[in-house]
Subunit: 263 residues, 2 copies
DNA sequence: GAGTGGTCTAGACCACCTT
DNA sequence: AGGTGGTCTAGACCACTCG
């Protein structure tokens, strides 16, 4: 490993130079995924900088999702693409998240992540005011209190997931949904059963960095964003519900079939 | 502002306690978006910690996309949702990214970001080997060299964008695409002109943290992920091209119309 | 017990912005 | 000039993992 690359007269900060050097090592395959990094103390000695500088450099790579540290064992190269699973967007949120163990797809890397999931609450139903963004999608006044079912667990693909179903008040009345029924049913299933399938809406995707709560819940490493998928369920122009799903950005490849034009 | 919240006997690190305290200030509206934070030195004094600890706490909030620092002026609360624009996924990548100024949508917040864009290369055509992921989408052997047109600039929505069009070798031959033609045309337009519109594929979405290059190109603040949209263009089952777009995660809400079932 | 990363202190100097 | 964030040093102690 080349350690003479750091130029103290350069206007580029040392920690960025160091980050760039290590990034190059990774990209050019000299530090392959899964392999342990030189320890922070070794990097100090190699590059003649303090530990704070080394940690800044590693921090950059962590935030890029290229490096993951394990307290007590070392830092390791991550392959951000390694665990991705194709997820059909139209299937997301339609099934209740399962609790407990994830299936191990044969030949796939271990989904240790899925087991670490915290707060396996199964599902939980309550009445809360809509967030501004959900209000817009659900087409209700901001602050309207609606019935929400929240499910946490393992997705059908084996990835950890947090899903929320926001039920439109009109749909709640029309379908005569009672809270007690929901202990045994996933709301979208119940709606379909009651004749409000809601298959005509649109899907909306956003991405952002997780809140600490979500980061812990989905066991996300540093440098991993969250994909948010909002599925607007409509029936004859009327919004029935919004299914909000939060998916780990390093494990998810969302697939949408193309709409045929000219129909 | 309450500064007695830090508990030195707690097992929770001081910087995380501080981050949590500041996060609460933001969420409860005592530090509204756009307003200057207390300076790092003031926070030092208030909470009786060193500057490194203050900076760690602010670092957490920056990585969450809630805070942005400006060298010399101060740190400010960001509203991660403020500048979002609805983007129709089916329109992405179909038009050549424009160079220069973005339109200012009336009444919208200033898109200063769009002006800061670096490396306005317009478009650039070259032959390079496909990346593993594009190989899969394009259905060619890994490493195949294909014609790529890259466009950088302002999207039709006013957001900065990087778009790449990967042309399948068979489509290149069938449509008799010559590199010279591409100085005046955006490849998808040229293909449509030549009778290979490619309207039958699927759209694939991923999210990740930007590389330093992309971060600079799209003028992304810390804590903002990138949405990647890959549009697979097919014509009678044959893949014609893949349009790869990189969109700023804090400015983009991707909208997909729902496919009608049972046709 | 030795090695690893995680946290924290107490300073220093610099680059940048505002007034 | 004075205030702001950005970088860097030189230490210290702790929590965790592994052989």
């Amino acid at each position: 490993m080349a350690w003479y690359v750091l130029d103290r007269d350069s206007s580029e900060p040392l920690y960025q130079q160091l980050a760039a050097a290590l990034r190059r090592e990774i990209e050019e395959g000299r530090l392959p995924p899964g392999v342990a990094f030189p320890s922070e103390r070794k990097l100090m000695a190699r590059y003649h900088v303090t530990r704070a500088t080394v940690r800044s450099a590693l921090g950059v790579l962590k935030q890029e999702g290229r490096v993951e540290s394990e307290h007590g064992s070392g830092s390791f190269v991550r392959d951000p693409k390694a665990e991705r699973r194709r997820v059909e967007a139209r299937a997301v949120g339609t099934a209740r998240p399962r609790i407990g163990q994830a299936e191990e797809p044969a030949g796939e890397p271990s989904t240790e992540r899925a087991f670490k999931i915290q707060g396996l609450i199964g599902d939980l139903t309550r009445r809360i005011p809509v967030t501004p963004w959900v209000a817009e999608l659900l087409q209700v006044a901001p602050g309207t209190v609606v019935l929400v079912q929240e499910g946490t667990g393992i997705d059908v693909t084996g990835a950890p997931i947090l899903a929320r179903v926001w039920l439109h008040p009109v749909a709640e009345e029309k379908a005569q949904v009672r809270e007690e029924e929901l202990s045994g049913f996933w709301l979208p299933d119940l709606l379909k059963f009651k004749g409000l399938p809601g298959e005509e809406g649109e899907d909306v995707v956003e991405a952002s960095m997780p809140t600490p709560h979500l980061k812990a819940l989905l066991a996300l490493p540093d440098g991993v964003p969250v994909l948010q998928l909002y599925r607007v369920m409509r029936e004859q122009e009327q919004v029935v519900a919004v299914i909000e799903s939060h998916l780990p950005g390093d494990m998810t490849t969302l697939v949408f079939p193309r709409v045929q034009e000219g129909f």
